[in-house]
């Protein structure tokens, strides 16, 4: 593959497995210097080992810790150069019917899946504004558009990412920074493997392509949005769902 992201510094949150790992691998293969984050030392170490061949690195980051986010972005700037591609991928689920959902289940999802995007985006802003270029790509979900029983918290956070990105795209477009979203459908990861077989089958029936997506399908879409080919796309949500949902 041609190294079209040579010289770019990419920060990918939640890169130890699933979609985040595939994105980190893809951007590294495209030539970017990738810094992938995990919540644990072991996770960060594993990312570093996986990305080593392409010159990538693993770092520990808890995206709910604003000071840690700022410190990491600062450290990356000093060690590798200012972050020019930010991929907000870190996310969790706390599924529960609303009647049973505790406020802490709600809060944890909003904090980890949505407020984290505010924190990381804000932290990389100064460097991108100065450079007059940058790519912010956040991973939302088809659930943020369709809704899903038991996922009111998750759906709200993911829809929030989309609206956040549209606003930020309008704010900083004149500085050459694009802000986009990739909304995966039903992707074969640990997160979706946890679903009961019945809901799995029901979901499959709604997918036009009749199969689950692969993490690499999402990674390719992120790679496109990070590439020069997507220079004129901003505030957009790219749906990668096999035809499960067509807006």
């Amino acid at each position: 593959m041609s190294k079209i992201l040579q010289g770019e510094i990419a920060l990918v949150t939640g890169a130890s497995r699933g979609i985040g790992a595939a994105i980190a691998d893809e951007l590294a293969a495209m030539g970017a210097t990738v810094i992938g984050t995990a919540t644990s030392e072991n996770g960060a170490k594993a990312i570093g080992e996986r990305l080593a061949a392409n010159g990538g690195h693993g770092r520990v980051l808890n995206v709910t810790d604003g000071a840690a986010v700022e410190a990491l972005v600062d450290a990356i700037g000093k060690e590798f150069g200012a972050v020019s591609i930010l991929v907000n991928n870190a996310g969790i689920t706390r599924d529960q019917l609303l009647m049973r959902m505790k406020e802490e289940d709600w809060q944890a999802i909003i904090d980890t899946n949505l407020t984290s995007v505010y924190r990381t985006s804000k932290a990389v802003m100064r460097g991108m504004m100065k450079a007059r270029k940058g790519r912010i790509i956040s991973i939302a979900s088809v659930i943020g558009l369709t809704g899903n029983p038991g996922q009111a918290n998750y759906a709200a956070a993911k829809a929030g990412i989309i609206a956040f990105s549209k606003s930020l795209a309008r704010e900083i477009g004149t500085r050459g920074i694009t802000v986009n979203v990739v909304a995966p459908g039903f992707i074969d990861t640990d997160m979706t493997r946890a679903l009961p077989e019945e809901s799995r089958q029901a979901l499959l029936g709604q997918i036009a392509l009749g199969r689950l997506g692969e993490a690499s399908d999402i990674a390719k879409a992120v790679g496109f949005l990070a590439s020069p080919a997507a220079a004129y796309i901003t505030g957009e949500t790219l749906h990668v769902n096999g035809g499960m949902y067509m807006p």
Binding site: R126, M129, E171
Partner: protein, 79 residues
Amino acid sequence: MSTIEERVKKIVIEQLGVKEDEVTANASFVDDLGADSLDTVELVMALEEEFETEIPDEEAEKITTVQQAVDYIKAHTKD
């Protein structure tokens, strides 16, 4: 070493893309030099870096002219 006035002026010219003779002491960033809200945020960022100081948001809001920027820097930096 340039004076604080000269350094501030240089930053304003660079950030806002204006001509040197437009940057008078009493020129307003927004009204006279055509800055939008994002420009003013960037200008403050650039001043912070040039003078190695942190300008709190509530102070930054009060800096609307070239002279006010110079006065702030003079009051808050050692050199």
